[in-house]
Subunit: 292 residues, 6 copies
């Protein structure tokens, strides 16, 4: 059932395949001989950073096919590279083809977008981290985080269960930032960090004073970010908190935010709108049972 | 369990929420009073075409919240519009917030990208259809198709079980286009159409002669497409087949393909890389139990 | 999720509906207005015994429709009777129509076939019981047993977990009927009865002597059955065991077996081949949103 | 998890087995040695057409047993034939025995009933197709369709998601056949065929004129069917539509309908009431661990 | 999917692992090389009775690891014994470690507590049975029963579906013990035993006279139990019913109840509060890929 | 489906009920009238701390019953208190009775054991935290953590996905504590804390120097713990790390560990062996349909 250390993705594969083939693959059943065996290559069509290779191999294995990867998570892969070599029953390979490619396209696109943002950010601030948010097509959060890591990024919190993050919607209910942080500190387990999203440099100071481990500067301009960092330094709080900038940060403006002296830059677009690295599957050899 | 006509999405909601909150929402549990009641608005942040509104309402209802929509699938929504008004327990609203927004962002982006491609294509060919492919983030095929319809597009086949579509990988096994089409005709049920993907105008003619209902001109230039259409006309086959152009068609070049005289243009990018229409949730009123 | 005392059927409804509508009901979505409300009747087309009415109501309720039954499990229903009155959204009613009717057809057919066999058997032996086997279309064992009860029959064991039943295949491994029964007696919990399937009157005696609670006379003629009963009486064992006849018993020959003096007659055909009591759904009124 | 190209049946096997053995097989656990190994044969007891052999092999394999089939889907199998040879742990074989046989009995019965109806129909009209409906015990639709194909029949639409089929209940809401067909044409994707169920020869003409791809003559006598076909011919519409007869067609009267000149004859009884082809499992050899 | 005769536990393993690793094991992913291979031992830390060994092996196998057991269900295992030897990928072993140990701890504790109660009870009444109730941590009923059997106990009914057991709550509704038993007798299948829970020796007689197969003396003192047994003997009913004592029976007082002449003693504490037999996993050898 | 903010427990309820009633509740179906309505009380039988009240209410609600709680999580409840008042269909109440009580017994026992350990520990060290481990019956981790919080304890990490915790088994592979911590620091996201389990006071210093956020002193005597704390103070590291004591800490010796100056004491027994707080359900009134 598992054959893997990834209980978190396997049950989904069944749902993905059921969605794409609720009553099987009528084309293969009509034209492909039942016992045809093929060698198929998964070919990367745009230069990209590889990601989620193990998850891909598992999907293929689950379908009773043999597969080996020629690249590893995090590697740059040139357009034209056969990243995975598959061997086995033709109908099975065709059944999973689209699901497999959809998964790889998403993961490779995320990893590539991440890597690009990381290199831009680090070109001006070598210690800065680029982190994912929880913005991703629904059901793909886990793959998104894996791909971000492959691209050199940071997962940020993996889910709502992972860390306290007090945001504007919470403050609209609780109304007092200081009290919210203190309540969180007290109620949160000792294993959990507490982060607070703030809208102004002054609130950043407030949050740090109240005991936040991480302060997220939300939707500020690079200048405001810089001012917030400075204010924290002046109050002697800079060493006590991790400072994260978030909101509207793109490949275009990331350098300015990095240069403003934050520790972490988080970006929704790397997982929600990472572009489109194409991947295709090609049957390169009919090993058995094809038609001459 | 259902409360809806959509058995195809409901079981997924549980998986989506489990992924994003495997052990609950530690932040709300720490800082939001258990009995706080709020009014929250789902606000569209970029002009977009609405899509999957019913699916969104169901997710909200499933969580025990009340919701009503102010817009309908297919409508253009201005930035700033509150598209859904939610009322109920604050913790529940915060638990589903990100999953809901991720779903709406994806659906609205797909619908908007589709509508844009449809208007460009129809500006030169008023009867042409823009159709989706099966390229979409895994597990989101059904929502993708719904959003394409909201944007004025055509679903194309809903899954591998839906229609015969003979592609290059099949032909690498079967080797004879004509034989493949005839076998498909014979084995496919009378309810199924048969489509063939071809690489040249000549093969388009072959496929049509062999009895294909639909011919997909794959990765051809607009000129080749035009030539294929002409060839089919010359052979008296144009009226007998639906002609689809596919492969590398984007908002930029779609007019040329539309002008080439095809019936259908399909695009992977509208569902795999539809851009990023932002949607946010804002708590606008604390109805009960907040802190003064 | 449940809304019922039947956890054993509810998760299946989701699978049944997913199989029949993996991507929704394309017809209703195309031609039926989204907000149309109807009254629909489930009409019995052949005289039958009602069964599984609660299970039917749950399926309808799960889809967000209102329903009430006019008949109860076990009642004879005349052809033409509207057994269930449904009110609600038209698309939802059409989505579940076929699944609902398929379920009712199966259950009504089983209950009717059971009732017929019961009355024939009891016409000659008023205390005899007619029992189901585990022969039923896969996944329908629970409904089958419910329908048998509605028809006046006995469920027999509900599953492999329910009672010890030593059959010929076990004896081919264990080789010694006496030893098998004694081992079963010793290992089985005190809550479990032990039944043994035997091929001859002599083995029936052996089984009873070894301590079986129930002896199943398998594939014997009515005469052999009579001889087995007599043999058990002669040895003073008749009062200690329940005697069941099984194998090839049909509505045609059931009287002879009943007359042979057994306590229980079991039949595979009442659940595996119960005939076909037709049931249909008819929209009798458009309450809202139809076209004039 | 899959080991197969059939995501559509595998998750169900778990549910089927859970229903029949929610707490294991108490009999085998009591009397069969844990490590006993056997050879078991699945023996066909009535002449039948084989069907769903791959699905059967998968169920057996899932339970950790080895199996090979001696017959193929669509073949006539003589009573007495060992259609599947199983080897492995005795307890496992006994655990799946009944589920396996229930599945095979259903599939073989459907395939056989289909083949009989096909040969009768084709004896008078060699090009006619016999098609399944969606009438089948709930949860068995997919297996039913596979078995119909094995028997030489046509699947008809695989589910509600597959094709537009406008029926009487839709028309009770929409009220105008012509408008319904046109709306369907417009809203349905270009990949979907549109079928209309009609109650009179005149409506058949109307449906064909409105653009239906398929016209279903519902519950008409063979004479009416003949008249409908003639009317369509006279209007020059016969070549443009596929004509299907449906409703109350049985092995007894199928020849008359076939002779009436339709393209397709559909039958609910071949999947809902296919008779009862018996199949049994017999342990033929104890390979290891039995009792002497 | 199965690889076993235990459909009843396998789907749960996925849920257990998802709960403990919803997004994988972040520690191993950070510090353990992906391809490290280890030998790990599951070591029993307190003298205990082994139980659920097969279920443990299956969990390990499901994770793609090799395993063999050195002990069998029911055996006494000395502290320090390596009960299972595991070989394979280090990350996989670490992923399942805690789930595996939690399962074994529970099962070994139950089996040991059972065995202790069995030996005490049998020291004064060699034929008495010690039986489990349905009291167990939710979701663990099946494992609890297996472990009780390993400890020499009796499963009692496996679930609510297994046997009629009329308790005080039923009698509060039905109000008449005699009528309840008779109704049960009549409605229950012939395969089911009927047990009645009674609060006084007089009711025990009533229940036996009404036809109960088993009488449960609930929350009586040993003296009352003795009196109930005597009363049944005097009325000539002792041979017709199985007598069970239940309620507040612990290792301390079990001998008195056993000596009172009952057939069965049931205990909630052996499954709900069985103590805590510790089990740990130790990596004893790094076969490949560790750090020197 | 949800009706709650707890996607993490709801799907399990279905499995729990399926395990305990795979084919329904045969007793209620035999003796309790279908439409009987009752008021039932969930009564606490031993003084205990309430926990998981919301989860309990949800299970009851899921079954279509009304319920209200009279106590809150964390409150001391006296023996005899009716903690939940249920109203509704009698059969439904009886169906969930045991599952509900099993859950509450487990949660109340854990909360009570936790509260007792917390008060003992805090009697000597008012700031010390008592934390859970991941030792709990499988599948109950989430409820265990909730109950620990109700008892005033700390959840510790919620799952393997939550925090880095380097243990002895990791070090057997990696071999170098310092390197392991640094690798973890580097690879772990900025949201994650890093904890290290150490076997000696010297290793505690090493871990703190290497940058661990938390140091777990494993299986040390109170004296060794004291020495480790002192050593950390001498090196100026005490303020930089949270110090946790773990291994063999029970209600008996917890004061000594608390007095040794640690921040956190973790205990497996509070979740794996929490004792047995009894809870029962009593039908107190028959509102409708009982027998006079």
């Amino acid at each position: 059932l598992l054959n893997s250390v990834r209980p978190q993705v396997l049950p989904r594969y069944v749902w993905w395949l059921l969605e794409d083939a609720p009553h099987g693959d009528v084309t293969s059943e009509a034209v492909v001989p039942e016992d045809a065996e093929v060698e198929a290559h998964v070919i990367v069509e745009d230069d990209s950073v590889a990601a989620c290779m193990d998850e891909a191999l598992e999907l293929i294995t689950m379908a009773g096919l043999k597969a080996r990867a020629t690249v590893k998570d995090g590697e740059w892969v040139r357009a034209g590279t056969a990243a995975i070599i598959i061997e086995g029953n033709a109908r099975r390979a065709l059944l999973i083809e689209r699901t497999l490619l959809n998964m790889l396209t998403y993961c490779f696109s995320v990893a590539t977008a991440t890597k690009e943002m990381v290199s831009r950010a680090r070109s001006v601030n070598p210690r800065v981290r680029v982190a994912a948010t929880r913005k991703a097509p629904p059901g793909l959060l886990h793959l998104a985080k894996k791909a971000v890591v492959a691209g050199g990024g940071d997962t940020h919190r993996l889910s709502l269960s992972h860390m306290i993050l007090i945001k504007d919607n919470h403050l609209r209910i609780v109304n007092d930032l200081r009290e919210a942080v203190m309540k969180a500190r007290e109620r949160a387990g000792f294993t959990m960090k507490v982060e607070v999203e703030v809208e102004s440099p002054e609130d950043a100071v407030l949050a740090a004073e109240a005991g936040a481990d991480i302060v997220m500067l939300d939707n500020m301009s690079p200048e405001e970010v810089r001012r917030a960092v400075k204010l924290l330094e002046e109050r002697g709080l800079r060493g006590k908190v991790i400072v994260e900038a978030s909101g509207g940060i793109t490949a275009e403006n990331v350098r300015k935010y990095a240069a403003a002296g934050v520790d972490v830059i988080s970006s929704g677009s790397i997982t929600m709108n990472p572009g489109y690295r194409r991947v295709k599957m090609e049957i390169v050899k009919v090993l058995w049972g094809g038609h001459p």
